[in-house]
Symmetry: C2
Subunit: 367 residues, 2 copies
């Protein structure tokens, strides 16, 4: 009998609605296999935490995350806590990443079902088969370097900083991710080594590490500007693991995330250690879509990204590989068109009228 | 009688081939209007300059650029001077930009002819009507800030630096560009103000400048990660002038440049002052496609981007507005499908077999 503690940060906007469909998945797994128990602990984070406590990341929330096996997040933010507010949810996001040492952000961009190809903004023949896992370094670089707000002369700066050990540990995550597939995935390291010193460090470190420890992996290097073109005109060119530093990962992961047609479809994981098949890696798992305040409370948000985030949680943080795969298969079946044996359910973002709960019902049924 | 001095940096790879079609356009204009004379001065730059002189930007080349009214460039670089070479063409590019104070890089992404819609990697209904002018700050930011190569501890950094006056002058270029259209274009300022101090300076400076000097313009602010999504799933959302700092501009201008279907189609201008209708602004004008070493010397490269760069040179640096428009119209006619009265010519990059010279012939004929 195993009990897993999961801190649930439903957050703002559609967060609570989509999270509640993902937590049903945990219940269902326990029901099917009573030796697995999940202890779900709800905590405040983001805008709702600012309203209740004055800060986006209350210490009680952080403590709960720290003592859990994994964190499941919904989404945070909204117009109420916009750019002009003194305290903003973003501050909580950055503090949470740093406090929990979530240095490895995994953002797959692929089609949960081929039936979704119609929704990609790319020509279908360009998008088909896209299967890029963006791996973004999440606790270094210009996000956490020394910076100065504009001084009296109107001069400001930010510092992009990296150390060899930071690059090595994220490069190891890329390698282990690549090796967890059979055959192993190619690794594309993305940088701007023709301009930046940190990128030259990045390229050299990755090259040397792979030569020594992962000679069996295929590794290439791309400039970030070229990579941003490939994602539009030939995304399959980056199939595999696309490894990059924090700011490049921010821009390119969002760029990649619109290929599969709707933001609400995609999951993400942020891990605090190099994952491996036989180890449980602490992490925070969340859909990549925003809090969508315009449709919050209507029960029409797309829960797919959140349910798939629960699958990643099961895989990476709890080591429940079979259960993770079962959840992914269930989601695929619900998305597959009826002609190929699926349910063909579509929420509003995909032009359908399936409600969030109805979608959840179908996933539970498939499980 | 006006004589204009133009330094021509044909460069490497396909550079000389595409540039020679653009210089024919200058000859033709002189023929039609003998009161306009062009004095074309060929100089070495890039890989060919490294081979001949040991440096990518010989002082003689820089002097010629300095004493000219404008510079026309082909393309530079190639495998011969790759990442592992001690002296590389990129160093020349960055030195040239800084030495000539080319702080304003204008990169339009639009369809030179609607007949090219078939070539976009986006769904045609997503791409149609895309008309985004990326305006990239080109001599500041992390490209020219203080940096440190990896030290003994394997620590490296780069600094993104901006001053209020640097932001103001590029924001003025955006405004003047927007105002040169009737009705004026909207300006979208792109930053990462939720994280970076330089972006907060950027947003504040642009906001205050426009409130004071350009209240008639429509201005909005987007985060760089959102903007990179818009370019894929709704590029018309950024129609107008998209204003951004150097590194963001590097990534997003390349991303935008693949929307029109082939890199060889697009021109660019880098200016050293705020342009205006009645002023001539020194600048360097070049196609955005690379040196394409794989097809160099075969006479099959697409000259459109270079010919359109000559048009931008005529407009911004020589104030020859009618001539610039005539060149653009001629190019459009040559690209337009036959059914709508065009020549329907397509070079190899667009699946056709028109040679570089044949394309040039047709443009000259149309002029
Ligand atoms: C909210 C913001 C600070 C954050 C980031 O830039 O990392 C977001 O864009 C993301 O990608 O998770
Ligand atoms: C060659 C390189 C230094 C350059 C840049 O990054 O500015 C190029 O990518 C460009 O966009 O002109």
């Amino acid at each position: 009998m195993s009990t897993y503690n999961i801190t649930v940060l439903a957050g703002d906007g559609i967060g609570p609605e989509v999270v509640s469909q993902a937590t049903r998945v945990f219940d269902k797994i326990s029901q099917v296999n009573p030796s697995i128990k999940f202890n779900l602990i709800d905590k405040l984070f983001g805008g709702c935490a600012i309203d209740a406590t004055g800060e986006p990341l209350p210490s009680d929330t952080l403590e709960s995350c720290r003592s859990s096996d994994a964190v499941l997040m919904g989404s945070v933010g909204g117009p109420k806590w916009g750019p002009s507010s003194p305290i903003r949810p973003e501050q909580g996001i950055l503090a949470l990443r740093k406090s929990l040492n979530l240095f490895a952000n995994i953002r797959p961009a692929s089609f949960a079902s081929d039936s979704l190809l119609a929704f990609t903004p790319l020509k279908e023949e360009v998008a088909i088969g896209t299967d890029v896992i963006i791996l973004r370094e999440l606790t270094g670089g210009i996000y956490f370097g020394k910076r100065q707000e504009a001084d009296a002369n109107g001069y400001a700066f930010d510092t992009m900083e990296y150390s060899k050990s930071e690059v090595e540990r994220i490069a190891r995550v890329a390698a282990e991710l690549a090796l967890s597939y059979n055959p192993p995935l190619p690794v594309h390291s993305i940088d701007k080594a023709n301009v930046l010193a940190t990128s030259r460090l990045w390229r050299k470190t990755v090259t040397e590490l792979y030569a020594k420890e992962y000679p069996q992996l295929s590794l290439d290097h791309q400039y970030v500007d070229s990579a941003s073109m490939f994602l539009v005109n030939n995304p399959r060119r980056l199939n595999g693991v696309a490894l990059m530093e924090n700011l490049f990962g921010d821009i390119l992961s969002d760029e990649a995330s619109v290929i599969p047609g709707a933001l609400g479809l995609l999951p993400s994981s942020s891990l605090s250690a190099v994952p491996s098949k036989d180890k449980r890696t602490f992490g925070l798992h969340e859909p990549i879509g925003g809090s969508a305040p315009d449709i919050a409370g209507q029960g029409i948000a797309n829960p797919v990204g959140t349910i798939l985030s629960a699958a990643l949680l099961l895989r990476y943080s709890l080591g429940l590989h079979a259960e993770a795969a079962a959840v992914e298969l269930a989601v695929r079946r619900v998305l597959d068109d009826k002609q190929i044996g699926g349910h063909g359910l579509r929420t509003g973002d995909l032009g359908g009228s399936t409600k969030t709960v109805e979608f959840g019902n179908a996933v539970i049924e498939e499980l």
